[in-house]
């Protein structure tokens, strides 16, 4: 890429932060994943082909960095890739991730939606994040999370349906 990197941070930074918060819960882990995503991206930027879809690329990097954050905190030798990553993220959230459920005081409006997202099963939560926030095609989501394209599509749609029900119950 020949364009200034800062334009990508400006344009895609908020989307990547929402993806990180959806996957790890809003808090220190999501902040770490965001920071490491953009540091990795900065390293790779000059070699990145001009025709790259930058947002989709950043979301894929964010997935890997989110898994790294969890793996490092888990301090255990864990298998990597696809379904194993989802299992790792699943165990993390069930085990009580650092900062999950807390949002900065200046962003009270965000708390409700993140609580609703956090309540989803891990695979649904991840598929909703990568599809509806990150805009990734289902084939790529399947590659990142293991399983088939159809399963990724179903998980995203079940996840959104659950969010919708919750929305209906909220006055």
């Amino acid at each position: 890429m020949r364009a200034p990197f800062d334009a990508a941070v400006e344009r895609h930074g908020p989307t990547v932060l929402r993806v990180c918060r959806a996957v790890l819960g809003p808090g220190a882990d999501a902040d770490d994943a965001w920071s490491e995503t953009f540091l990795s991206a900065l390293r790779a930027w000059p070699e990145l082909p001009e025709e790259t879809n930058v947002e989709a690329w950043l979301v894929r990097v964010a997935h890997r960095r989110a898994v790294d954050v969890v793996r490092r905190s888990a301090r255990a030798a864990t298998p990597a890739g696809g379904a194993d990553d989802v299992a790792l993220l699943d165990g993390w959230v069930r085990g009580g991730a650092r900062g999950t459920g807390t949002v900065d005081d200046d962003e009270p409006a965000g708390a409700g939606i993140w609580a609703a997202v956090a309540a989803l099963p891990t695979r649904q939560r991840i598929c909703v994040a990568y599809r509806y926030l990150g805009g990734l095609p289902y084939a790529e989501i399947a590659e990142l999370t293991g399983g088939t394209e159809a399963a990724a599509r179903r998980a995203a749609s079940d996840g959104v349906a659950a969010l919708r029900e919750r929305e209906e119950c909220t006055p």
Binding site: F5, R18, V160
Partner: protein
């Protein structure tokens, strides 16, 4: 409400969830600077002559832009001439803090000369020679384009000297605002003639 509309409502709530990245961007700039991953760090600062953009590399201050310039065009130029790892550092930064402090001191009448590490790679060729020569004209003094050309043993290059002043990458630090026309006219200024007028008035008052 239709199923589809409810889906859209749920996903648009997600997409609209607040995501303030200001603090994270400061942290990114700090980490990137520490790891030597940046080509150019830049920062917007307020000043008595309008907002300025200061840009620095690991070697020093490399470019000063004025409010009248299009920030995006400036960043594009820096990316293509220096490198695409261009990052905003609105918080603390080793490369920018000294430059920001000295420019503020100068513009508020507390400094007459700059003592800063500079990256002069944007000052090339004869123009660069002219631009480096600008510091010969001291605070509160002025010179003409013609005098500057003569001083460089190029008496016929008055127009080229004018172009060099107009393209000076380090205005204020390299004081191209002190160069006037032989007839006393202001000539030009990348930051606009009003800024040039104010700088000259400030220096002649001090």
């Amino acid at each position: 409400m239709t199923d589809r509309a409810m889906t859209d409502r749920a996903t648009s709530m997600l997409r609209a969830a607040p995501a303030d990245t200001a603090g994270l961007r400061e942290r990114l700039a700090r980490d990137a600077e520490r790891e030597g991953l940046v080509d150019v760090l830049f920062r917007a600062v307020d000043s008595p002559i309008g907002a300025l953009v200061l840009a620095a590399t690991g070697r020093g201050l490399v470019y000063v832009a004025f409010e009248v310039e299009d920030e995006r065009a400036v960043l594009d130029m820096l990316a293509s001439r220096i490198g695409p790892r261009v990052l905003r550092a609105q918080g603390r930064s080793r490369a920018l803090d000294a430059a920001a402090a000295q420019i503020d001191e100068y513009l508020t009448g507390r400094r007459r000369e700059f003592d800063l590490p500079l990256d002069t790679r944007l000052a090339t060729g004869f123009r660069g020679e002219v631009q480096r020569h600008l510091t010969e004209v001291a605070y509160g003094r002025t010179a003409t384009y013609k005098q500057l050309a003569a001083g460089l043993d190029r008496p016929g290059a008055v127009r080229a000297v004018g172009t060099a002043c107009a393209t000076n990458p380090l205005p204020l630090v390299w004081p191209c605002h002190r160069i006037l026309r032989t007839d006393g006219g202001l000539g030009g200024y990348r930051g606009g003639l009003e800024a040039k007028r104010r700088l000259l008035a400030m220096e002649s008052a001090g």
